[in-house]
């Protein structure tokens, strides 16, 4: 993993953020109650506030005129902007939902098992997701890295190893290779959320050992219940045709493009 953004950095203190907002025209044009709402956002919304400060007022063919509404709850902030098209001067509204921690705040990934120098298996999580009210096989995570690892390239990888081991109740992981698969916008029409993707290889454990840790185990300590499964790579083709998790599909698409997996 290089030194690029791992998660939103929160460059501004609250005072700096307010000063930055005050310099923005759309903020000055917004109603007093909206301004008050923004400058008094709970501390946990610092990431969201920082992103707002850095959002360009003009972007290619849009100009933000004012914020018409902002509402928050436990995890999300929902904003409505009044915007002008720079193509035809039409006035309209643009709406999106942001995470309180900011645009960059999580990583999703997958573990691949190597046997005799060949990728032999992949590990998935089976999880009941409240939003869709059903069980889904999905990429592992989400992992929420700390704001900064300094300049240490391996700090982030060690953190992911430790998080995966903890989530799967495996004493420790030692990735033989780590693939940084870049970022994706999971649903750019709805949210500015950006998720980092990765895949990791392990070659110091065999299938039987992994199964002793995951078979028949189900956990509930992340606020949702989940279990793990390990599948032979020979099943990947039919798995990809059937799966509907956007993260997994993006991960496997990138792995094929990087020639790590050949179908």
């Amino acid at each position: 993993m290089d030194n690029r953004i791992i998660c939103s950095a929160n460059n501004y203190t609250r005072a700096e953020a307010i000063s930055k907002l005050n310099s923005l025209e759309w903020f000055a044009n917004s109603k007093k109650e909206i301004q008050d709402e923004l400058v008094n956002l709970p501390e946990s919304f610092e990431g969201f506030l920082n992103d707002l400060c850095d959002r360009p007022e003009k972007f290619v063919d849009f100009e933000i005129l004012e914020m018409e509404d902002v509402s928050i709850n436990e995890h999300f902030a929902h904003v409505v902007f009044k915007v002008k098209s720079l193509f035809n001067n039409k006035i309209g509204q643009k709406v999106y939902t942001g995470w309180k921690k900011g645009t960059y705040h999580s990583l999703r990934g997958i573990i691949l098992l190597e046997t005799d120098n060949q990728i032999s298996h992949f590990i998935l999580r089976r999880c009941t997701r409240f939003a869709i009210s059903r069980e889904i096989e999905e990429a592992m995570g989400s992992i929420y890295p700390p704001k900064s690892f300094g300049d240490e390239q391996f700090g982030a990888i060690a953190y992911v190893e430790q998080q995966f081991a903890q989530q799967m109740r495996i004493p420790s992981f030692n990735f033989s290779k780590y693939f940084d698969l870049g970022f994706i916008y999971p649903d750019p029409a709805m949210s500015d959320n950006v998720v980092g993707l990765f895949a990791a290889l392990i070659n110091d454990m065999n299938v039987e050992i992994i199964k002793t840790y995951i078979d028949g185990k189900r956990y509930d300590d992340k606020g949702y219940s989940f279990s793990y499964s390990i599948k032979p790579i020979s099943e990947l083709l039919s798995f990809l045709a059937d799966t509907n998790d956007g993260f997994l599909l993006s991960i496997f698409g990138r792995l094929q493009a990087l020639n790590v997996i050949k179908l």
């Binding site: 972007f59 999300f76 999880c127 069980e135 649903d187 509907n244």
Partner: protein, 256 residues
């Protein structure tokens, strides 16, 4: 039923009656505070899709029982719903939230157009647009209402895209050789109930002139698939490529 609620029900828009009837049978709705119930019953009609999703939502999500709707924030197009739930494993109570479109899930589907020459896929077509939400210029899947396919004409291809494709292919009519349903894709189940149907449309094009590309469409040779996948960030588009490779419709192992 509370008198206040009965008073509200008398004013319900007829288009919502069946949905509200189903909702009233839900235990979690009965247990919801009156001010939140009122918010739901008074939702604008544009929210009927979300209302339908709510009235069909099971009382359990896996081992979580829905106790009540704790809060709801709505705007022009979206709502954030926050439910109080109880784990049946350890009786712990917690809040579970998600973001929903007013329509429930997005009514638009995400797809790609593939152009074949002499029976072989040679190009793919996507869109490149300024995206306000992410504040970026982004390559995206082609979004449209579910394409109605009436061999050999695709009825609902957006006019702008159809015109551009005809110009590029120097054709009066587009000849569709195959429509591939790539299934549903969940964008981010930690955030939203939203999912989209995905598809590929294969059209015949014996004389593609890339110089005729116009703003908004992105046309690439399939030989560029590998590098294209590494540069795009729209998860729907990545999911579409992943499915197309799994189905052997696009092969990248022969290309750089």
């Amino acid at each position: 039923m509370q008198t206040k609620l009965i008073g509200l029900l008398e004013k319900i828009d007829p288009s919502k009656e069946i949905l509200i009837e189903k909702l009233l049978l839900k235990n979690w709705f009965k247990e919801t505070r009156f001010d939140i119930q009122k918010k739901i019953l008074e939702l604008p009609n544009s929210y009927n899709g979300m209302l339908k999703e709510l009235s069909n939502r099971p009382d359990y999500a896996g081992d979580k029982a829905i106790l009540r709707l704790h809060d709801m924030v709505i705007s022009q197009k979206m709502a954030i719903l926050s439910f109080e739930v109880e784990s049946k494993l350890n009786n712990e109570k917690m809040l579970r939230e998600y973001v929903s479109y007013d329509t429930g899930v997005s009514l638009e589907c995400n797809g790609i157009i593939l152009i074949e020459e002499m029976g072989k896929i040679k190009y793919f077509v996507t869109t490149r647009t300024v995206d306000f939400v992410t504040g970026t210029l982004i390559s995206k899947a082609i979004r449209m209402h579910y394409p109605k396919f009436n061999n050999p004409k695709l009825i609902t291809l957006p006019k702008k895209i159809e015109t551009q494709l005809k110009k590029m292919l120097e054709k009066r009519e587009l000849e569709i050789t195959r429509f591939v349903d790539l299934g549903e894709v969940y964008s981010d189940t930690t955030l939203t109930n939203n999912h989209s149907s995905t598809f590929a449309i294969i059209i015949k094009g014996d004389s593609v002139d890339l110089k005729n590309q116009t703003d908004g469409l992105e046309v690439e040779s399939v030989e560029m698939t590998r590098s294209y996948i590494n540069k795009i960030a729209d998860s729907y588009l990545l999911a579409i490529f992943s499915k197309l490779m799994a189905l052997n419709i696009i092969e990248i192992n022969n290309h750089g």
